[in-house]
Assembly symmetry: C2
Homo-oligomer: 213 residues x 2
């Protein structure tokens, strides 16, 4: 079962240690293509005793869930803020697409972690992932599509289906990052490619969701 950082971490010093452990985990996961992080490597990088991982997070599932939750928190707060803004729906969609692609570029392990937890985790973990990732996204998509249809700037479309289509499109280049040197003839996935990908995905979806004239 997952242990929340917030519940267990009270003192300032311990918070810093827990944060260092999460930073180290994120750094390692960004370098590899699996979820095979060892407690000893996390401990070494964070400069925090490995026993503290157990103390703060219970086990590997708890650690990974806490990392995912930390990544989700700021993204979902930003998304909620975006939905509430006084801005046309198509512009909101554009800002959102840029936001998720930048988030996946910064933390390419996000969808890998979600799949790992959903495939192998307990029911409590699955429920948490759904609560802090999928449900807020879905609420935002429903609100943006409804606003856009009302304003005449978006076609009527199922927000749930759009969620899969857009998240899949935004994520796949990062999830399949191993193949980038072969497909694009570059050393790897750098800022410039991320930026070109962002422009392309944004262009396809904004044109693709505009009402037919």
């Amino acid at each position: 079962m997952a242990v929340s950082v917030v519940q267990k971490v009270q003192g300032q010093e311990r918070t810093a240690s827990a944060e260092s452990l999460l930073d180290a985990t994120a750094a390692i996961l960004s370098e590899i293509t699996t979820i095979e992080v060892s407690f000893s490597e996390i401990s070494r990088r964070a400069g925090v005793n490995a026993a503290m991982i157990k103390y703060y997070f219970g086990n590997k599932e708890g650690l990974l869930l806490a990392l995912l939750e930390r990544d989700a928190e700021s993204s979902m707060a930003a998304l909620e803020h975006l939905v509430a803004m006084d801005m046309p729906a198509d512009k909101k969609l554009k800002v959102h697409i840029e936001g998720i692609i930048n988030a996946y570029y910064k933390s390419p392990y996000i969808n890998r972690l979600i799949h790992y937890i959903v495939d192998t985790g307990g029911d409590v973990s699955k429920k948490r992932v759904s609560e802090f990732f999928i449900e807020p996204m879905l609420r935002a998509y429903k609100a943006i599509v409804a606003q856009g249809v009302h304003e005449g700037v978006l076609r009527e479309i199922d927000p749930g289906l759009l969620y899969y289509c857009l998240v899949g499109a935004a994520d796949h280049i990062f999830h399949a990052g191993y193949s980038v040197p072969m497909t694009l003839g570059t050393d790897g996935l750098d800022y410039e490619i991320k930026q070109r990908y962002l422009d392309m995905v944004s262009g396809i979806f904004l044109r693709g969701l505009a009402p037919d004239r």
Copy 2:
């Protein structure tokens, strides 16, 4: 290292056994969300002795690679045929989008297997996956985009980037199939949802890739 079915299987009877083993593996992988298939369950379902898995495929990696290759063969032959047809490029794109979504619906484990082999497999396996999946797709995208730009029915776009965007969009609802009951309020991913997803993805990409008027 991967062992090709074609190389090792000569007799009619052995071919049928190897095919039964692949069918059983495909059936099990379609039911679960990981790649945790056991030799004993494959053997039981196929009605073929488990020792034959080792004989035909060498090991688990060889078995999974052979399955992927079998799935790729027909899909890639169809794609090559499509590219060569006398048909406008936007229509080819539409047929291709329907083709990959139907392929993922039929074999939802395809991208899971690709990731597994690329993440944990040897260099020979990685090269094979690239040769029989990614390279043919990329060649087809290059040809279709070039034709479409020439005909004035598609915008100029990087075929390599389009590959990620389109494959990610087409695959994600199947890859994240576990969440469908929650997001769409249905029992699971059935034919009707697949069909609606196909129409939506196709609509977004065809509009999204059309030249600006």
